[in-house]
């Protein structure tokens, strides 16, 4: 075979797999909703299937984003985005799964809050974080966002057991955070989040993520910090 552009191969394959997964996820949502109306043993297994499909989906997105960023092929597209809509969109797209697990989700965000960011990247980050949170929380999730001077803070807090101590603290690419193969998928997810945050930055400040325990709901708390970017 002559020169193969692996970036294209990867992009096409992942796009195709994601399409299939989206169909799969859609059907699972339908089934799950129908099962809720006449409870049976199978709804738990359906929910598990859905969770796993979601994970494959997230991993694929990560894989493509990481590959492109390492190869210098990803060019972030920064636009002003309504943060309330972004969080609400994420919540409502995953409501069925949350309902099934009896997880209550609350959203606190000024409807007028607008921030310049790469919508696709931050969406992927949210999928990663929230899907994880739905898994580990006991009964509640609180998604919130606010601006603090020249920074946007997006927080996902839960009432689960919290993060392991070794993961706590600030995770910033510029401060030398690297991919830890020992941590397996969790490490990859965290590295991905730190990378997404880091892609948001100009000449000065760059974004970072922070993990802590014992926030408002008593469990784990993930915080994304993004600096204010000039629009272009």
């Amino acid at each position: 075979m002559s020169k193969l552009d692996f970036n294209t191969v990867l992009a096409i394959s992942i796009h195709d797999m994601k399409n299939s997964l989206n169909l799969l996820l859609g059907s699972l949502d339908d089934l799950l909703q129908r099962e809720e109306q006449r409870p049976s043993m199978d709804s738990d297994r359906l929910a598990l299937l859905r969770y796993e499909a979601r994970r494959v989906n997230d991993t694929l997105i990560q894989l493509l984003a990481l590959y492109r960023s390492v190869k210098g092929l990803y060019h972030p597209y920064f636009t002003p985005v309504s943060i309330h809509d972004l969080l609400e969109e994420y919540w409502l797209n995953n409501k069925i799964l949350m309902d099934h697990r009896n997880v209550e989700c609350h959203l606190t965000c000024d409807e007028d809050l607008v921030w310049v960011l790469d919508r696709y990247l931050v969406n992927s980050l949210l999928e990663n974080v929230v899907n994880n949170t739905v898994r580990y929380t006991r009964s509640r999730i609180h998604m919130s966002a606010r601006s603090d001077g020249d920074w946007l803070l997006v927080q996902v807090a839960d009432d689960g057991p919290g993060f392991p101590r070794s993961m706590l603290g600030r995770q910033a690419i510029r401060e030398g955070v690297q991919l830890d193969p020992q941590r397996g998928r969790t490490g990859l997810g965290l590295y991905f989040c730190a990378l997404v945050a880091d892609m948001h930055g100009g000449n000065g400040d760059r974004g970072f993520v922070e993990l802590s325990n014992g926030c408002e709901l008593g469990g784990g708390c993930f915080t994304l910090h993004l600096p204010k970017l000039p629009l272009n």
Binding site: N22, L25, T79, P80, E89, L92, N93, I96, Y120
Partner: protein
């Protein structure tokens, strides 16, 4: 006030039958009782939109050939078939760059990225309906062209606390600007700004100042609006206009140059930029602006022969004769419906003859033939005199000058 989905008239626009069916079914399960109308292209959609009023329009951004969703929305709003009471939701691809903030240009009520979940669709529809439904009586009197009564209705709504206050005030300011009620514009906008300095209110104040001839005050206001919200594009356009009125074309050009970096999709902005950069002899900028005009205007059939002519001029100034000749050819094929086509084509041919002397005699013969049949229209008259001068055709130029109406 009926903000349930039950009896709403819905139009779904998508070039894929599967997607239309899926959305239709989803709406059914959300309680929409009347089967939605569907359109597979922008043309079909416009036909339906013109024939009846819809409460909700769900439109895919990417409609294949022809217009895209935003162009369709612009056109439908201009024609009034999407009005202040119509909910318009744009469906986009997952990783799309089309999802721009509503404030950026006159955007839709919401964007929905595929894959769409029923919950999200429901939430976005209800939120938009809560804003739009109370506007129905206003939309109705506006359809009859009764701005006076629309303003009265808006005041009644404000007094009764009905509808979204911010939307009502904004529409009030818009209508007041349209009718030239500048005092009212000022009253509304200043009240809004006292609560919170928002870009649209500051911009409308600027427009009122401009209409009163207070140009430097208008300039300050437009600049203020841009500081508050850098992507509020209307402020950029008005700022450029007020700078031009002050004779500061260079500054106006700079403003527009930055504005198209933020948002390149406005046809009128690109046209303005094209004119200004030709005036300032910035040919590269002019070339790219006229190319954009042609590309943006094509699907909406709003490209003029003159746009092509300007592109030809910019290309010639840059020494790209071959490309200029090609652009001229394209003019003849693409804008066949423009009544001024033969004149702009003639002008382009004469400009090309300045470099390519071989065609000069044939081009002049063609011009004589054309002039035998008709007097050159006003739009091209001066340009003809100019190009004849540059070709050294002093007598022909002088003859034309004598024909120039006062």
């Amino acid at each position: 006030m009926d903000i349930t989905l039950g009896r709403k008239a819905v139009l779904i626009i998508d070039d894929f039958q599967n997607m239309r069916a899926q959305l239709s079914q989803m709406l059914g399960s959300l309680g929409v009782q009347r089967k939605p109308d569907v359109a597979g292209s922008a043309e079909e959609a416009l036909e339906l939109l013109r024939s009846r009023r819809y409460d909700i329009v769900l439109c895919d951004y990417n409609l294949g050939e022809g217009m895209h969703g935003q162009q369709l929305l612009d056109l439908a709003r201009r024609e009034g078939c999407v009005d202040v009471a119509t909910v318009f939701i744009m469906v986009t691809a997952e990783n799309s760059t089309e999802m721009v903030m509503g404030a950026l240009e006159s955007g839709p009520d919401a964007y929905l990225a595929k894959p769409i979940s029923k919950e999200l669709l429901n939430a976005r529809l209800l939120k938009a309906l809560r804003r739009r439904v109370p506007m129905s009586p206003v939309a109705q009197v506006l359809r009859q062209g009764d701005t006076e009564q629309a303003l009265q209705l808006l005041d009644t709504m404000l007094a009764a606390g009905r509808g979204e206050r911010a939307d009502i005030l904004r529409l009030k300011a818009e209508l007041a600007l349209e009718t030239g009620a500048l005092d009212l514009v000022q009253e509304v906008c200043e009240a809004v700004i006292r609560e919170r300095p928002v870009a649209w209110a500051i911009t409308s104040l600027g427009q009122a100042a401009m209409a009163r001839g207070e140009l430097s005050r208008a300039e300050t206001l437009f600049r203020q609006a841009i500081v508050v919200t850098p992507y509020f594009m209307a402020a950029h356009d008005h700022l450029a206009a007020v700078l031009e009125l002050q004779g500061r074309s260079r500054d106006a050009l700079e403003v527009l140059e930055q504005a198209v970096v933020r948002s390149s999709r406005s046809l009128s902005r690109q046209r303005r930029l094209g004119w200004l950069s030709m005036q300032q002899r910035e040919w590269e900028l002019a070339r790219s602006a006229w190319r954009q005009v042609i590309e943006l205007g094509k699907p909406m059939e709003s490209v003029r022969a003159e746009d092509y002519f300007n592109l030809v001029c910019a290309l010639l100034e840059m020494g790209e004769s071959a490309r200029a000749a090609k652009a001229l050819e394209e003019m003849q094929q693409s804008v066949a419906a423009d009544p001024l086509l033969r004149w702009w084509f003639m002008l382009g041919r004469l400009h090309l003859a300045i470099r390519d002397r071989d065609d000069k005699e044939a081009a002049l013969d063609a011009l004589d033939g054309l002039m035998l049949k008709a007097i050159p229209p006003l739009e091209v008259h001066k340009a003809l005199i100019e190009v004849l001068g540059r070709l050294g055709e002093v007598t022909r130029a002088e003859l034309l000058r004598q024909q120039l109406p006062d």
